[in-house]
Structures are given as structure tokens and as C-alpha cells.
């Protein structure tokens, strides 16, 4: 695969094509694959760098800044929530943990009924999901691939009689279970945008340009005519300009990036919907300390799930999805309570930790906005979601204790050590005000949501902006609500659906 590197291209770079795609993650790569397959000329523009597997050196200090927006430090505007989203050719598919779940039928039914969206019937979408799963080689994780960390989790779930099961993923036999998935796969075991879709899109004629940050869509009235931006050097510093003239634009830069580009461009937005209705799936982690060596950094990081507290029906008050969430030393130290000797002493338990996260199917709506030249994220979990974070933390702690943990640490101010039922019951919504407990989100979605009413949505059921004739959205921005499950398969599939319906005027 030959990616054109913005850091090496002569400036100003000028290209023309049928469709300019902003972003190369799940949504952008699938759009490129499909549109190039239809014979359209496609240029994919990616702000981040192009990495090959041998460059994924499994070092946090190298890979976190390289593979994530804002060097891995992107936070909401009050600093209370870490938002990790991808940057680089392949986007978040390079560093995600390859979980593959279809959009739940309850979610799709809600979107049809509440937002009047047609074309989201199971009969319509199931063949698309199946097509994507085939393309990406989605298979159930085999029982023998269960890591010691996931086995501990499974033991706790089963001891409590909770609903749980093995997950599916898009890895193949190149995977050796190294456990470094979140730092990029050195073994090229992920059948993702970088390995599958972009090479095939390029074979079909698509051009992929890395280190190319799109700043704005150029448009007149209802028609976009180009995208413009800056070529970046190896440090991410602008070094030149580019322009890609086009007949259509697909925004696929994630719910943060796509909304940011749309806002910077001043795309028509009479009801000020762009950037609104942002969902994040906020998550909280708790750590059990075991007598046994768990060595949670080894093996497939997430292969088992607990769905006992996850009901995706509208109005549900069981919206916590619990799964393993082990991090390498830097990530673990960042959320381990205290500093100095207390922190360094607590870190000695590292091989004995079992860490679970509770991710909330959130009803809170945040916002992507611009402050001067900066993209900002406003998001403060509401009371209902704080209650779900508490439910998730409480039940994840209970699972760890049932699995044999001698105690459970919940980071926060003050941190909590949990050993008893009474201590479990003290984990309430009141502990989850901003900054009280470290929260992390890895699934931004919904900032340019689908709907039939332009007063409350940005794009229509085909993914096209209500206000533009030739601008589409092909990433998680278009989800009308939180989806409550890992979004990559949904993003790939909706991108395929949008791209397949995209017609040039």
C-alpha cells in the first residue's frame, strides 16, 4: 500500500476527484472502499501519520501520542473526562480492541420510531452487517484464546450467575495474543481499515494522503466544491497547504473531527445542530487485587462480557456494560490513586490486578464546539448517567470480589477500598460528580445526527446534510443516540450504507 505522505508532498498540493473523504478510520475507509469500487475517483485525507506494523513498538510513550488525538490527552473542556479517539491512517481501528457487535435491534427500533428514520429495518441492515463481517473476518473469540485476566472476570460473572459470554472480533491467526492491541498491532493481526479496506480501496484507484489536516469544506450555496487544509510535518506542525477539488464530500473524521470541520467551514446550520447531541459512552474502571498473578497485560484484552446490567431499551435504567479493561503501566498509574510512595507502592500490585470497566450507554448529550481555533468538547454526565456509572462500578466491584479479589480499589477523591457488601452499597451517584472519579470515553458519536427533522438533526436517513446537496457523513457522528455497544461494526456498516446510496448530481 502506497500512502502519499503530506509531510513529503510538495506544497501547495492540488488534487481533484469525485469524492473527497475526510478521515481514514472505519467510516472513511469503508466509504473509500465502496466508492472506489463503484469506479468513482476518491481521495482520502488523514490528519495523522501512516504507520506500518513494524512501527508499532508496544511502547506507551511512543504509541499513545502517535495514535491518538492530542497525543492521547484529549479531555472535555473542564478536564474531567479523558476522550480517546484515533489519529492516523486507519483511525481508531488501529488501536481499538477489535470488538464487533451489531447495532442492537432495540436501538434501531428507537431510531425508526423516535427519529422517523426509514431503511433501518433488520431486513435491510442485516445483509449489510453480514457483508461487513465477512469482509473483516469477524469470528467469535475462541475459548482457548481467553486470557488469564478475562478468565478471572468470567469466573466472577459465573459465580454470581450473571449473563455473560464470549465476544466476537476481527483478528485472524496472525494474532499471537500479545495484549498490545491498544498500541497498534505489531503482528498485523487486526483485519481493520489499515490492513483490509484502505489497501483494497487503493487497489481500486483511491488515493490516501496522510499528514493532511482538512480545515474547511469550500462551498457555495448548497454545493461543496473542494476541501482545503494544511500539510503537516512529522511533528504535526503545518508545513504547507493543499486543496482537493471534488464533486462530493464525505465527512468521516469521528464525532469530534467531523463536527469540528463542519463548524470551521461554517456549513449552513440554521438550527445550530452541528456538534450537538454528542454521546461518549463514559466509563469508569475499578481494580481488584488478587493473591494470584493475573498478568492482565497478556492475551486478547477483551474477550468476555457481562451483559447483566445492559438493557438497551429506551428508558432503561440498566445501561452499564461491564468488561475487562487492563492497561499497560503508564495508563494504570494515571488512574491509580495518590502520588509519591503511595502511588509507587500501589503499582507493585500490577501483576495481581484485575481491572474491569463499566461503560455507560449514555443519555447525556454533550457538544463539540469551537473556541477560537480550538476544538472543544463539553460533556458533563447527568444524574441519570451518574447513577449508571455507580451501578456499573458497584457491580464490577462485586464481580471482582466474587472472582476472589481480596479488595477492590475505586479511584477517586477520596479513593475507595471495597471489601464488603456495605462498602459496595456506598458506591452511589453522589460519588460521580465531575472530577470525583476518573472517567474515560473511547466512543464519541452523535454530533451530526441523523433524523428527518432538520430542526433537530444534521443529516437525513441517507447520511446527507439537510442543508447541502453533496456533503455526506460516514462515521459515528450520524448516530442519533448512544448505541451502547462498541461502535466499529456499526460505523463500518452505516458508512457502507451511506456510500452505497451516495449519488453524484
Amino acid at each position: 500500500m502506497t500512502v502519499r505522505r503530506g509531510r513529503l508532498e510538495r506544497s501547495p498540493l492540488s488534487l481533484s476527484c469525485d469524492v473527497a473523504i475526510v478521515g481514514s478510520g472505519a467510516g472513511g475507509s469503508m466509504a473509500a472502499y465502496e466508492l472506489a469500487g463503484r469506479g468513482l475517483s476518491v481521495v482520502v485525507l488523514e490528519e495523522g501519520a501512516y504507520h506500518r506494523p513494524r512501527q508499532f513498538d508496544q511502547r506507551e510513550e511512543h504509541m499513545l501520542p502517535s495514535l491518538f488525538r492530542e497525543l492521547g490527552g484529549q479531555r472535555t473542556d473542564d478536564l474531567s473526562l479523558l476522550v480517546l479517539s484515533g489519529r492516523g491512517v486507519g483511525g481508531s481501528t488501529v488501536h481499538n480492541t477489535n470488538l464487533c457487535k451489531r447495532t442492537a435491534p432495540e436501538i434501531l427500533a428507537h431510531w425508526r420510531e423516535e427519529f422517523g428514520l426509514s431503511g433501518l429495518e433488520t431486513a435491510t441492515l442485516d445483509p449489510l452487517f453480514a457483508e461487513v463481517e465477512s469482509l473483516l473476518g469477524v469470528v467469535p473469540i475462541r475459548p482457548e484464546q481467553l486470557s488469564s485476566h478475562n478468565a478471572v472476570f468470567k469466573r466472577g460473572v459465573e459465580a454470581l450467575g450473571h449473563a455473560g459470554g464470549m465476544l466476537s472480533h476481527n483478528r485472524d491467526d496472525r494474532c499471537i495474543g500479545s495484549g498490545f492491541c491498544e498500541l497498534g498491532c505489531a503482528y498485523d493481526g487486526k483485519k481493520n481499515a489499515l490492513r483490509v479496506l484502505l489497501p483494497e480501496a487503493m487497489r481500486r484507484g483511491a488515493v490516501v494522503v496522510s499528514d493532511a489536516r482538512v480545515d474547511r469544506v469550500v462551498y457555495d450555496d448548497r454545493r461543496a466544491s473542494a476541501v482545503r487544509g494544511r500539510l503537516l510535518d512529522e511533528h504535526g506542525v503545518p508545513r504547507g497547504d493543499f486543496e482537493v477539488r471534488c464533486e462530493a464530500v464525505c465527512l468521516a473524521g469521528s464525532a469530534i473531527g467531523s463536527a469540528s470541520v463542519a463548524l470551521r467551514s461554517g456549513l449552513p446550520d440554521p438550527h445550530q445542530q452541528i456538534g450537538r447531541h454528542l454521546h461518549l459512552h463514559p466509563g469508569v474502571a475499578v481494580a481488584g487485587r488478587f493473591e494470584e498473578r493475573v498478568e492482565g497485560w497478556r492475551g486478547i484484552p477483551q474477550s468476555y462480557e457481562c451483559t447483566e446490567f445492559l438493557d438497551l431499551s429506551p428508558g432503561s435504567e440498566r445501561r452499564a456494560w461491564i468488561l475487562p479493561s487492563f492497561a499497560h503501566p503508564v495508563g494504570t498509574a494515571t488512574v491509580t490513586p495518590g502520588f509519591g510512595p503511595r502511588l509507587l507502592s500501589a503499582m507493585r500490585a500490577y501483576p495481581h490486578l484485575g481491572v474491569l470497566a463499566a461503560m455507560v450507554h449514555d443519555v447525556t448529550e454533550g457538544r463539540v464546539y469551537l473556541e477560537g481555533d480550538r476544538t472543544r468538547i463539553a460533556y458533563v454526565p447527568g444524574a441519570s448517567d451518574r447513577a449508571q456509572l455507580a451501578l456499573g462500578a458497584r457491580e464490577a466491584s462485586r464481580i471482582l470480589l466474587a472472582a476472589g479479589a481480596r479488595d477492590v480499589m475505586m479511584p477517586g477523591v477520596p479513593p475507595a477500598t471495597i471489601r464488603t457488601e456495605a462498602e459496595l452499597e456506598e458506591i452511589t451517584e453522589e460519588r460521580f460528580h465531575p472530577h470525583d472519579v476518573p472517567l474515560t470515553a473511547v466512543h464519541p458519536m452523535g454530533s451530526m445526527r441523523m433524523g428527518t427533522d432538520p430542526r433537530s438533526s444534521v443529516v437525513d436517513a441517507t447520511g446527507r446534510l439537510h442543508t447541502m446537496d453533496n456533503v455526506w457523513v460516514t462515521d459515528g457522528s450520524l448516530f442519533p443516540t448512544s448505541i451502547g455497544t462498541p461502535p466499529q461494526l456499526s460505523i463500518y456498516t452505516f458508512a457502507l450504507k451511506v456510500a452505497r446510496g451516495l449519488e453524484l448530481a
Binding site: R59, E61, E70, L79, W297, R298, H328, G340, R342, P438
Partner: protein
């Protein structure tokens, strides 16, 4: 790193305080090796890292941690700061001036952070970590994350952790052996 409106006011003060630069000396070689931080900012980072990463007393059989000074944590933070975009870099640098001049006052000390004793610096950091002002807690976590990145990414800290590090330099023959599989085979 972002602090919102309240934080902007706080950091605005940090911007003013940045002009207070006397009394911060670094050897020429160390000064010339800086990528993003001023000598003053570097010394504040060094002082924060020194307390944030102060080692515990290992019990018998445990390996001792190296010191953040041995590992050059402040220098690695300087390199990281150099990679930040302009706005985030500006915010972080201002925060360092707030830590140096304003937070000691809030903790009851009429002195710069870098001139406080170690235990006094700990109390300033504790006040920041548990501050009723959420933004200060957020800023504490950001500083802690920087220190953690500079320290726990270093192979010399992995022995005390019991972590064996990246596998790319020692590729296994097949599927990674987990502790569970090892135990099962041993039993």
C-alpha cells in the same frame, strides 16, 4: 489540556506570573537541551515529578524503584510538551506558573513551590489533588499523567512492577503463554 472559563482566568494569572523569572538557574548545557520549557518551567516540572514519583521503601525481596531524576523524567516531559499543539502547550506552561506561585499561597505557604521543603510540596500537591475546585483536580491529574508517562514508560521501572515489557524484541514462538496456561500446565 483544557480548563474552561474559570481555568482560563487561572491560567491568565499564570501567564502574568510567567514574567517572574529570576532565581531559576540551570547549567548552560541543561538549558540548551530544553525543547519547549523555560528553565523556570523545567525546574517546576522537576520539583513536581520529584514528589509525584518519590519511591516507596521496598520490603524485603522487592526491587527498588529508580528516581525520577535518574530517569530524566523532567526532560521527557519537556519533549512531550514540545509535541503539543500551541494552545495546549500554552495552557500547560501557564499551569506550571500557577503551581509555582499561586498554589503554595492557597496551601498557606508564602513561598514558591520550588523553594518549599519536600513535605511542604507534598501538602501543596495534596491540596491540589483534593481541591474543591474541580479544575484544579483536573490539572493535578494532567500533571500526574505527564509524570506517569515519563516514569513508568522507562524499562528500569518495570522490574519493581513485575512487568516484562514489550514483546517485539523477544517474539514468542506461538500463542502467548498466559499465567493461567502456565499454571494449568504446571499442575
Amino acid at each position: 489540556m483544557r480548563l474552561g472559563v474559570g481555568g482560563a482566568l487561572l491560567l491568565g494569572a499564570g501567564g502574568v506570573l510567567a514574567y517572574q523569572s529570576s532565581g531559576y538557574e540551570l547549567p548552560v548545557a541543561a538549558r540548551e537541551a530544553l525543547y519547549a520549557l523555560s528553565p523556570k518551567e523545567y525546574l517546576v516540572v522537576q520539583a513536581v515529578a520529584s514528589r509525584m514519583l518519590r519511591a516507596d521503601e521496598p520490603v524485603e525481596g522487592q526491587a527498588a524503584y529508580p528516581s525520577p531524576e535518574e530517569l530524566g523524567v523532567a526532560s521527557s516531559i519537556d519533549v512531550f510538551v514540545a509535541r503539543l499543539d500551541d494552545a495546549n502547550r500554552r495552557d500547560l506552561r501557564r499551569l506550571l506558573h500557577v503551581v509555582e506561585h499561586l498554589l503554595p499561597l492557597g496551601a498557606g505557604y508564602a513561598s514558591r513551590f520550588t523553594r518549599l521543603s519536600g513535605s511542604e510540596q507534598d501538602r501543596v500537591l495534596e491540596a491540589m489533588e483534593t481541591s474543591p475546585v474541580g479544575l484544579l483536580r483536573g490539572a493535578f491529574n494532567a500533571l500526574k499523567a505527564l509524570c506517569a508517562m515519563g516514569f513508568f514508560s522507562h524499562p528500569l521501572t518495570w522490574g519493581p512492577l513485575g512487568y516484562d515489557g514489550p514483546m517485539v524484541a523477544r517474539p514468542p514462538a506461538g500463542w502467548v503463554e498466559t499465567a493461567r496456561l502456565s499454571r494449568e500446565r504446571a499442575s
